[in-house]
Symmetry: C2
Subunit: 214 residues, 2 copies
Amino acid sequence: MQDNSSQLNSIFSTRFESLLIKEVGERSMLITATAGQVLITAGQNIKMVPMVMSGTLKVSRVNEEGQELLLYYVREGEGCAMTFSCGMMSQPSLVKGAAEDDLSMLCVPVSIMEEWMTKYPSWKKFVMATIVNEFMDVINSVDAVTFKKMDERLVNYLKEKSKISGSSLVNLSHQQIADEMGTNRVVVSRLLKKLEIEKRLLLYRNQIKLLKEL
Amino acid sequence: MQDNSSQLNSIFSTRFESLLIKEVGERSMLITATAGQVLITAGQNIKMVPMVMSGTLKVSRVNEEGQELLLYYVREGEGCAMTFSCGMMSQPSLVKGAAEDDLSMLCVPVSIMEEWMTKYPSWKKFVMATIVNEFMDVINSVDAVTFKKMDERLVNYLKEKSKISGSSLVNLSHQQIADEMGTNRVVVSRLLKKLEIEKRLLLYRNQIKLLKEL
DNA sequence: CAAAAGACGGTAACAATGTTACCGTTTTCT
DNA sequence: AGAAAACGGTAACATTGTTACCGTCTTTTG
């Protein structure tokens, strides 16, 4: 087990008390994943809880037919509410977790994280803040699916993807977009075509260029 | 502040350690509400966290136009994940809470509940279990809205309502049903009419009788 | 390298759901 | 009793979901 305290300091020093930082450095392991790699699927047991050091972890719900719905992203400096809560209750995961892009995380065994809950106020606060934030993200997903129109959801989705990658080019097929949004490929193609006619983006094979007006 | 330990024992004795039961009895207050009463709306601050002693608490999301979506119910012996997590982070509520039927709850100030998190393992476990369960309920709502057809959702909804009230009569207008399901009154009327023609239920003004075949 | 297989996205046709509008009836308010 | 509001049926149209088919491009395979 290596010492990860140097990376930790830059991200978590303002949030965690020094004793906790020291212990994270000693007792966590650094796990990396490449873009697209699936880290956990619904039904699997949770042995470790992650803190994202770089990259983005994508958490989504998958139904029986393989249809998917994006629930929330875990970004640098954040934890994952599902692993915190399921992990502590020895419940299998309800969701799929995958690397949105190249990802590195500090991971701590569930048993240690439970110990920290009572030992370190700053850890307890971190866990509860994570749960609130990601609960809110899920509720926003519910809101969007329930109340928003498809074209608005699609535009928001593309903007979010562009923001994460830091580029106006989104490298996804219509099928991939439909899957993540929990809708149908034909619907996505139809709306994208409409947006292209409105000169808000340009369509290529497996690629979409967002224009300023979007 | 009255002593609520007698009611507590019957519901929570298997779950809470005796010291905690004693403290809940001393430091909580019993709050009652009549069916339909709204207890908290999105944006309000959370001062107390509830444990339901009898009846059902309904938690739902309301958007700008007043459209609503049922997220989960809190039943006898259960706590509310949203109040636990938002309360601890001093975040205003994200949701609306209302009495589904006549309701009594033991309520504890947020500050005390935080103290208990580190003091009583059984309380920590109760809070985390509540969060996991209700997170799962919310995810099931998301699943239903995203992947299920409306007629199936409607039938499930009616069965759930019947189960809660313990009666095959559901006393709700089509508008109320549409609101809770996050859809449109006309859609509900249309599907209910279809179900009546299929002899799965009977329609009356403000009332629906579920038949065995449903 | 060439043929086959698969991925991709455009399109049509239809089904399911959402939206607005209008109507007659029943209930509530005054 | 009369006015106003709530309720639910229905029509017409818009949006979204679903299946099917097609031509093009990419990858696989022999």
